[in-house]
């Protein structure tokens, strides 16, 4: 099962990757753990950046589903979201 992960621009810049896939993750928590592991020695930085961002599953914030326990299916997109204002 493949899940696409999209980081915020700032995360991607700090960690060296913006959009990638993780395999065999069945929940949001799995994805976060696998992403942390992917970044190895930068895991602490990743964790720090996630404190001002939340997670969306296919565009829907995880808080409107089952939080980190939200179950995933093949092809889902997990995005880290930061509030912003545009025009």
């Amino acid at each position: 099962m493949k899940i696409t992960v999209e980081l915020t621009y700032a995360m991607g810049k700090a960690l060296g990757a913006n959009r990638f896939e993780v395999e065999n993750a069945t929940t949001v928590a799995d994805v976060i753990e696998k992403t942390k592991a992917r970044f190895g020695d930068k895991a602490a930085e990743f964790e720090k950046l996630t404190k001002i961002a939340t997670v969306a599953v296919n565009g829907v914030l995880m808080s409107y589903r089952k939080g980190k326990k939200t179950k995933l299916t093949d092809g889902d997109v997990i995005s880290f979201v930061k509030a912003a204002a545009g025009g």
């Binding site: 914030l61 509030a83 912003a84 545009g86």
Partner: protein
């Protein structure tokens, strides 16, 4: 006359080449403030139903408000009001730059242009001398907005059109510096009058009721803005395109003519990417504005110009499946120089691409392929070949070529770059906003799907309430005339700094989402001025105005616009969304689109309208909307 106003309007007859200064109507200024509100009142009263928007009977009204001419941040904007040639209903657009400041220096609150000239002309208005010169503009006709302003002198205050306005492109705008009154085709109305440019000058100073209090308070506001995460940080660093990552993550960035809400190359057109790769400065800001959301980029063969903002990068980037910021910057420059709205332009291009893909039109442009777009933008501005059809906008194109189901407009105005299927209140706002499918006549999405304190944007709670409050607020803001971005400061710094998954943040969001009718009632309370625009109005005019007062004034403006639309045949049947938005799901598990039908009845009720969407006599009387 209340302080803050120059106290006079200038009416110019473009056919007779005469002009007259008249006193500003103080009673109407109390009811409508100025800007869009005052302009709409004038338009309603001075025109017959059914006039040709591009004919001599459509007045073009430039209107300022009492905050213009001051050094209050984000306060130098003017409103343009007329009948829209694009929608056939109310036409209006607001613009930054420096022209509003120039009008107030010239001692003119409102400028009304009547009839039309037979030959190209420009106006030079000397407010101090009380004189208007009509100057032949044949030498400027055909020139872009950059060159025109360069020739007229960069240190003066101008409002100009480019070739798009001259050639009556239905979404042409009016430009001041590098800002544009873009929406609803106000530039085409200026072009129909053969008016290339207006230059204003004068040395009048703004009089205030309490200048010391204004000065001290404004100093505090500037400091607060400087520390604010949106006004002092993200808009300053990334411009409005700093929101790309958020709309992408929330699955609401228009992609492939709104077929999807997510584009894998979206971050390559983001404000952060712009900062890292394209930004050469932030010079292009509106006069006296400390936010400086404008970006400067380098366009090959042109030089340093204003960069694209969010709507442009979204509608000409992901919406065309283009992830190349250099290309988008160039198209943005072309649109600015030709003087046309990039939102409508992006939507027209994506509509043509989809028609092409379906074999309904040999448009010569394809999703994901930038070739041919620059030339086509020039063809639109000059109405050459297929460009002549695209200059008519999406609604008219769909009548000619088909594709009604994916023609992305409301009331004829092309949709902005927030997909309402992931932002239900924004969808209600699009459907009901009087000028059509626009995001800055309320910006409901900020409270539900992109801001720091969002609620679930995909249930029905509050989704018919937020738009009413936000539309009223925007009407008041556009009547002062302030920048809508000033409202971003309403959510304080500490909320931005909260962990969005923390209990406190969730509790705040829960309280907002479940506030029910309390939300609307709380906004209508009339008390003391609290927010900065309320205090500025009070210090400048001497008339204490609270948030509740402004909700009432905004509601008055909104209902007058509604009555104008009804008079012009733009009825409740147009309170809808494109069929794609109503029928095609873009979220996993969604079986249909936006649930507008479930929300409109409550919206009408909140407005005090009949179930058929008509303002009741009681509502109009309560708001003192005399029609």
């Amino acid at each position: 006359m209340m302080k803050g106003y120059a106290g006079r309007t200038l009416e110019v007859d473009m056919a007779a080449r005469t002009f007259v200064f008249k006193p500003l109507d103080e009673d109407q200024a109390r009811l409508y403030i100025g800007g869009k509100g005052y302009g709409t009142r004038l338009l309603y009263d001075r025109t017959e139903a059914g006039i040709d928007p591009l004919g001599p009977d459509n007045p073009l009204i430039f209107a300022t408000g009492p905050l213009n001419g001051s050094v209050a941040p984000q306060s130098n904007r003017f409103a343009v009001v007329c009948k829209s040639p694009l929608t056939g209903g109310i036409g209006n657009a607001a613009c930054g730059g420096s022209f509003a400041y120039g009008m107030k220096r010239a001692g003119i609150d409102v400028l009304v242009l009547l009839n039309r000239s037979n030959t190209p002309v420009r106006l030079e208005i000397d407010g101090d001398a009380g004189n208007v010169r009509f100057i032949d503009a044949a030498d400027l006709w055909g020139k872009g907005t950059y060159e025109t302003q360069e020739i007229l002198g960069k240190k003066k205050y101008h409002a100009v059109i480019g070739p798009a306005g001259e050639n009556l492109v239905l979404y042409a705008g009016i430009v001041s510096n590098e800002r544009i009154a873009g929406r609803t085709g106000v530039g085409a109305v200026m072009g129909s009058k053969k008016l290339k440019a207006i230059t204003v000058s004068g040395s009048r100073k703004l009089e205030m009721d309490d200048p010391d209090a204004f000065k001290e308070y404004t100093k505090w506001v500037r400091g607060m803005f400087k520390e604010h995460p949106v006004l002092g940080e993200s808009l300053k660093r990334f411009g409005t395109a700093g929101i790309v990552g958020t709309t992408q993550a929330r699955n609401i960035i228009p992609t492939k003519n709104f077929q999807r809400g997510n584009f894998d190359q979206a971050m390559q057109v983001s404000g952060e990417y712009m900062e890292d790769h394209e930004l050469v400065g932030v010079k292009s800001s509106c006069i006296h504005c400390p936010v400086t959301c404008g970006r400067d980029v380098e366009v090959e063969g042109v030089g340093r110009v204003k960069g694209p903002e969010y709507e442009t990068v979204a509608l000409m980037g992901p919406n065309l499946e283009i992830g190349d910021l250099k290309k988008v910057s160039k198209w943005n420059y072309l649109a600015d120089d030709f003087g046309m709205d990039t939102i409508s332009l992006g939507a027209v291009l994506s509509f043509a691409m989809e028609l092409h893909e379906r074999g309904d039109l040999d448009a010569g442009i394809r999703f994901g392929d930038p070739s041919g777009i620059s030339d086509l933008i020039g063809d639109i501005a000059h109405r050459r070949g297929l460009g002549d059809d695209l200059a008519e906008g999406v609604m008219r194109m769909s009548r000619k070529y088909g594709g009604h189901d994916f023609a992305m407009h409301v009331k004829g105005l092309e949709l902005s770059a927030y997909d309402p299927r992931g932002s239900y209140a924004q969808g209600v706002e699009y459907a009901t906003t009087n000028r059509g499918g626009c995001h800055v006549q309320g910006a409901s999405m900020y409270l539900e799907s992109v801001g720091p304190l969002t609620i679930n944007p995909q249930n029905l709670k509050l989704k018919a309430d937020i738009p009413v409050v936000q539309q009223n607020l925007a009407c008041a803001i556009n009547s002062m005339v302030l920048c809508i971005f000033t409202t971003y400061g309403m959510i304080p710094k500490f909320v931005h700094e909260m962990n969005p998954d923390s209990f406190a943040h969730k509790a705040l969001s829960f309280a907002l989402e479940n506030s029910g009718s309390l939300f609307m009632k709380s906004q209508q309370l009339k008390g003391k001025p609290m927010l900065w625009w309320e205090k500025w109005l009070t210090y400048i005019t001497g008339e204490p105005l609270s948030g509740g007062h402004l909700q009432e004034i905004g509601g008055r403006v909104f209902n007058l616009e509604r009555m104008y639309n009804l008079r012009e045949g733009v009825g409740a049947d147009t309170d809808t969304l494109p069929p794609r938005m109503l029928n095609e799901p873009t979220f996993k598990g969604m079986t249909s689109g936006h649930p507008l039908g479930q929300l409109l009845p409550r919206y009408y009720k909140n407005r005090g309208w009949s179930p058929e969407g008509i303002p009741t006599a009681k509502t109009l009387e309560k708001l003192q909307v005399h029609v």
